[in-house]
Symmetry: C2
Subunit: 201 residues, 2 copies
């Protein structure tokens, strides 16, 4: 009983998420008002509070969506080639994701928007993204391309590096595109080289 839903919940939820994603990409985080997002899909603020708990819930859903997209990019990276080349390809996929939607990247790895910090449950759901990196590092270690070390330590190093590079690039601190290309390449190569086993010793 009760009044029937005039719009399907899942459809409306997706519509809100898509609209919010468009607004975020086009105008930045300050465009993500509850009234604005709701109006964009022809509903009212109430829908946001019914479908997500509150505005932070909407941001959390966008956060998780972003990691799903990143994981999809990672999944398209081959895992059967040269282990080190695969690892570099993961880094470039990460860069492509950041450049494809800079504001979304800020939402995922910075915290440009108040009132939202991912909790433990969120971090558990995005662990798969980190696992992909970890497995790629482990393959390099197993293949003897990296000296004997805890793959988690190397993964932490590389994950910090790509995040730092992406942050600098999105801030415009890596120079023009050609210069940024070179610095990404040099930095990733140097980082990998730093883990190569000693030639003698």
């Amino acid at each position: 009983m009760g009044r029937p839903r005039t719009r399907d919940w899942d459809d409306l939820r997706r519509a809100l998420l898509d609209a919010a994603g468009r607004l975020l990409a086009a105008e930045g985080p300050q465009a993500l008002g509850t009234r604005r997002v709701a109006h964009e899909v022809g509903t009212s603020t109430t829908a946001v509070y019914n479908l997500f708990e509150d505005k932070a819930g909407l941001l959390r859903a966008m956060f998780l969506d972003g990691f799903a997209a990143l994981e999809e990019r990672f999944a398209r990276v081959p895992v059967d080639g040269d282990p080190e080349a695969d690892l570099l390809a993961l880094g470039h996929a990460y860069r492509a994701a950041a450049r494809a939607d800079p504001h979304r990247y800020d939402l995922m790895f910075g915290r440009p928007i108040a009132d939202f910090r991912p909790d433990e449950a969120d971090l558990a759901r995005i662990g798969g993204t980190y696992d992909t990196l970890l497995r790629a590092v482990a393959r390099c270690v197993d293949a003897g391309r990296f000296g004997p070390a805890d793959p988690a330590d190397i993964a932490a190093h590389l994950s910090a590096l790509v995040h730092g590079l992406a942050s600098l690039e999105l801030r415009g601190a890596l120079g023009d595109e050609e210069c940024a290309d070179r610095r990404w390449r040099l930095a990733l190569e140097a980082a990998c080289r730093g883990h190569h086993p000693e030639p003698a010793g």
Copy 2:
């Protein structure tokens, strides 16, 4: 002529900045309301708009203050020892600054607060901090510790790495303190090793 200032402008400006810094460190960015900061030093919101242009101006001043503090830490790092050891010491000074005031670090290198993005004039004023890193890298290149390369490219690499490490650590993604210590050390050492000249070639 005109009404005399009941408080010295420079004193009041410093008091506002200090109060804002205390609030930011203690309660995070959401505590930085104009009313709150003004009340903390016994004045009114008007003072913020007289002494800084607006709230973004207050944040900009805190931003520049943060870089002044970072530059001070850098200045205490010796520049006459082993070039590579000096470079690592710079990295650890950067880490110490981030850990000393995490929210301030976010203000400087993330963008946790809407309505403030550093403009070109701001970036020019903080260029000295980056120059310190650049000089340390150049000393390593000149000493033959790093293979022949553009010091700016190596500096970009290292700057991205320390920023990434600091971000991960402040997010708690680097594990407990002992683990974070190890990962900072391993990552900085591997990054430097990656720039060492080829033994033969």
